[in-house]
Structures are given as structure tokens and as C-alpha cells.
Subunit: 353 residues, 2 copies
Amino acid sequence: MLKNNRYIRAALSQPVDKTPVWMMRQAGRYLPEYRELRAKAGDFMSLCTNPELACEVTLQPLRRYQLDAAILFSDILTIPDAMGMGLYFKTGEGPAFKSPVKTAADVAKLPIPDISDKLKYVTDAVSLIRKELNGEVPLIGFSGSPWTLATYMVEGGTTKNFGEVKGMMFEQPQVMHQLLDKLARSVIEYLNAQIESGAQAVMLFDTWGGVLSTQNYQDFSLNYMQQIVDGLKRNHNGEQIPVTLFSKGGAEWLELMAETGVDCVGLDWTIDIDKARARIGHKVALQGNMDPCVLYSTPQRIEQEVADILAKFGSGSGHVFNLGHGIHPGIAPENVKAYVDAVHRESQQYHSG
Amino acid sequence: MLKNNRYIRAALSQPVDKTPVWMMRQAGRYLPEYRELRAKAGDFMSLCTNPELACEVTLQPLRRYQLDAAILFSDILTIPDAMGMGLYFKTGEGPAFKSPVKTAADVAKLPIPDISDKLKYVTDAVSLIRKELNGEVPLIGFSGSPWTLATYMVEGGTTKNFGEVKGMMFEQPQVMHQLLDKLARSVIEYLNAQIESGAQAVMLFDTWGGVLSTQNYQDFSLNYMQQIVDGLKRNHNGEQIPVTLFSKGGAEWLELMAETGVDCVGLDWTIDIDKARARIGHKVALQGNMDPCVLYSTPQRIEQEVADILAKFGSGSGHVFNLGHGIHPGIAPENVKAYVDAVHRESQQYHSG
């Protein structure tokens, strides 16, 4: 039994006493205790692949702030790594793969990874975190979306123009579909394994869906997220598992996302949440949507922004407060406290209890 | 008198025989003759600041393709450079400033540059290009938008998170407004000087407007573009000067852009042009909106995409065909020919002549 189930209830559009709040990348570099542990561990993947360390990092922000959910500390690229692509991190440049996927033959030989072997470190971390959380707040599991994983796999790392992955999409659409289908099947197994190990909600991060045209978004990103949504164990041990879908830069496609049947749609800050609620808020809950850069300013300015977003959403449930993207490394930890506390304090007026 | 005035007429929503076409960054690195001249000139700014070389580079793509407009070859950061900020280019990292703007005092001491002195190399290039074009096609002048210029000026170069410029915006909005006001006044003088020197149309590139929330976009980007639109000489020597406004990632704000009174609104590829036309196409012309990455594929695939976009726009004038962002350096020049020719060939059916 959860002591605080505000996040689960809001993500399922059920009544709550206060609007729940968490932050994407809440376990991360803005926290000195994270940086300390990271320095000891050596590199980023050593943190991810060690269940004890991943658990410790996951819990760090919950000791500082009254967050309504924990999110598994991991990387979005664990699946391609488990496929044998050799994930590593270049200092200051982000993730990269030793063997990028460039040809039809490269795609053909990619295995669907055996989650119980190659990604046991993730499910072990999930089990451990669930145990350590001791029912305080729910644990969110996650994965990158197939399209987002494919961008890194084909480009070999981060990219500015998406020329190679879109080149494959426009020139060899059938090869791209094969890749995305393998990824969708892997993500289904991966998220279901997280649910079986104790994740009480799951989220799909479609970080790069927003670089596509509407038709390409539907064909190459949403289509495979739909496949995943349809394949997830959305009830586990009698509990409903809320599913959130977040396509950054996807304001144009909110209706399409809501039609997948997910419980909650994530918003970045480029769309007003009142407009988003008018468009799809009767069908799904909404997550978001403060510009993470507001956290660079003062507690007063942060509180004002939180109040504005809450007022825009208005009365009733179906709102999970969050940033519109992950928190940046340079944010002062005390500003996060102002953000979390403001959501709880200012939101009570919009809920009847 | 222009021999080919299709671009001007379409940007003013007047009837044309075929849809005009050009490309953002059409004079650039994808052309071997550009790379050759650039290597001879040394660095990028040596090309921009030498009117003969800037003219030559501007004309290069017009010798290869049946483009309906030339666009001044220059950089969007000439104004901050003229303010004394010391623009330079780091290899592989893009533009940077020797003295970024970090404080209220930095903003206070920034001068409005004397265009006739500090930016004479630009107006000289405009005059020379006009002469060399000899009335074949119109010449488009341009500037970065105040917000876009401010992002580079405050961050000191390119940025991923916009933390510093948004930090100033959220914490010291009055300082940011002072900076943007200085920039808007400078851009008005700059674009009017380009018009007086021979630019027959102008375009405002708001490359980073799309990283803002709706309210911040209105207050910190659109507000200053409105000031510019109101200050431009939109009639020169009896000719109307079409003004185009392009906020990348701005699909959410098309109505607001159209309300500024510009003649044409630029679209990136994330919104369908039929939807954009339904929303604002009765008020303004539309520019766009093919994903530049389509040019990585085959002539057949490019022709299909061009035909799709033309069909979506449908019959009648008010469409300037373009990419949704600048052409990428790795594109094969022969693919550009397929794109340009397809627009002319496929669009005739949508115009009554």
C-alpha cells in the first residue's frame, strides 16, 4: 500500500488533495551528493549498472524534497547497449556507440536482447528501489521511445541535424521500420520486466519525436509507441499502472498522442497547459510544464511561475506537475525546494480534497 | 524591372504562374564552389566582410538552379559584432563572442551601431549584388531577430539549454528588455539600410523563438519583431517590400505572427502546410516547409515530397516554397536541382497563370 499515491491517482485522472510533483532527471548532476557518488563510481554507466548505486541515486532527491514519485535512475540507451552496440560516454559530448547501425545488414543482425540477462541490472535496481522506498511514494520506470533510440543508434551518438537517421527513413523506409519494430518489441519486454520487478508507473521518453513532420511522426514514432502501449501490462497485482507518453516538441500532435490510449501525456513548456487541457484534457491527464530554466531564477519568480501554471490548468484532477524537460545541471538545489513546495501549497485551492 | 518577380508576388499573395522556390542557406557549404572560395578567403567572416566575395557567393547557387530569389550572403550576428562584441568562429563549434553580455552594465554600455560605418560592408554587398543580378530575380535582405541575437550575445555563443539568456530573462526582465530594445532599434536601421541599398524583400530569422513559452515568446521575441515590422520602410521607390517572419518551432503561434502585419510567415516542417493555411493563410503568405533532410534521399523521393507539400497547400497564390530550415552542408548538389525543378513543374497545375 502506498502512503502517498497522489502521483498514481493524478496520472489516472482521479481526485487528489494536492497536485503531485516530480521532475524529469530529478536524480542528477544539480545535486552535490550525486556528483560525489558519481566521482566515486568513476563513470556514468558504472552508476547505472550497479543496482545499489542506482538505488542510492534514485533516492537522493527524495531525502531533500517532498516529491510525489521516484523515477528509476538509468539511461535511455540501455536497450541498444544490451543489443551489443557498445554504449559509452564521451566527456562533455554525451552518449556514443562503438558500432552504429548504418545498413540493412546492421539492422538485420541486431538481436532482441534477453532482458533477464542483459538488463538484469535494471530490474534488480527496480526491485531494490521498491524495497527501499517502503511504500512512501510510487516508483516510475521508463524507456526511450523506438524513434528516439533509433536516432542515437543510426547517428552513433547525439546529432544536430538528424541527417543520417532521416536519410535512412527517407531512403530506406523499410529498413527503418525493421529497426523500429525490433526496438518496440524490446521496449515492451523491458517495460513489462520493470513492472514485474516493481515499477508502479511507466513513461516513454520520445525526446526526438519533435524533429519530424506530422506524417513522419505518425509513421515512424507514434506508430511504435502505440505498439508499446498495446503491449504493456497495464494491470499488475490488481493495481493499474499509469502510462505517460512524452514527445518533446510534440504540441502539434496532442490529439494523436491522447488517442493511443495512454493515461497521461507529457507537455514541454512551449504550449500553454490551458490550451492543452482544452484540446485533450478530458481524455488523458497532463504532465508538465514549467520551463526548466525558470529554476535558474529566484524562489519568488519560481513560485509565481508555478502559481501561473496551476491557475492555467484550473480546478480538478488530471495534472502531474513537472518541468517541460529534464532539470539542468547548473540549478541551485534550494530553488528546487521552492518549486516543489509551491506546487503543494498553491495547488490545494484547486482540489476539493 | 524584375524579369522574374514570382517571389515578390507570391510573398504578397498575388497571382503567379508557378510557385516560387528558394532555400534558406542556399549559398553555402553544400556547394563545392563555395567551399573552394571559402578556403581561399580563409575564414567565414572574411567572406562576409568582403562585398565582392559576398556577392560572388550569393550568386553561386543561381548559376546552378532556377531559383526565384537571391538572398544576401551574410551572418545573422553582424549586429552584435558591430556593437563591438568581437564575433569569431570556433572550428566545428559555431559562432562565439569575445565579450558576452552578462550584466546590466554590459547591456547599458552596448552602442546602437552606426550602420553606415560598421556595417557598410553589408550595404556595399547589397548594392553590388543588386547590380550583378541585373534584374533577373529579387534580392532578399535579412537579419536575426532581437531575441535570437540576444541568445548568442548572453550565452557567448551557441547553447543547448539557454540557461544564461533565460536566467537573465526570468531574473532581470528589465535588463533583457533594454537589450532587446537596443537590438530592435538596430535591426530597424540595419534592414532599412539594406532596403535603401537594393534589397527588394526582407526576412527576420527568429531561429530561437521556439525555445520560449507562449507568454515569453510574446513578451521577449514577438514584441520586438512587431517593433521592427512597424519601423521598416515597406515601400521603396514605389515598390512594395515583402516582409517575412520565421520563428523556428513557432507552429503554436502562427496567428500571433500573422497579426504583426507581415506579408509572409515562414514554417518549419513540423506543421502541415494545409493546417497552417487554414489557420492564417487568408491573412498572409506562407513560406516553407520541406524537411531539409529529405534532400539527403533520392530525386524520386524529393519530387514526391515536393508534390505532397504543393498538394497540401492547394490552389492559388500565397506560397513561397522553401525548406523548413537551412540546407545542410552534406547535401548532394544534384538533389537540389531535383527539388527546384520539381517545385516549378508540379506547381503549375495549382495556378491559373
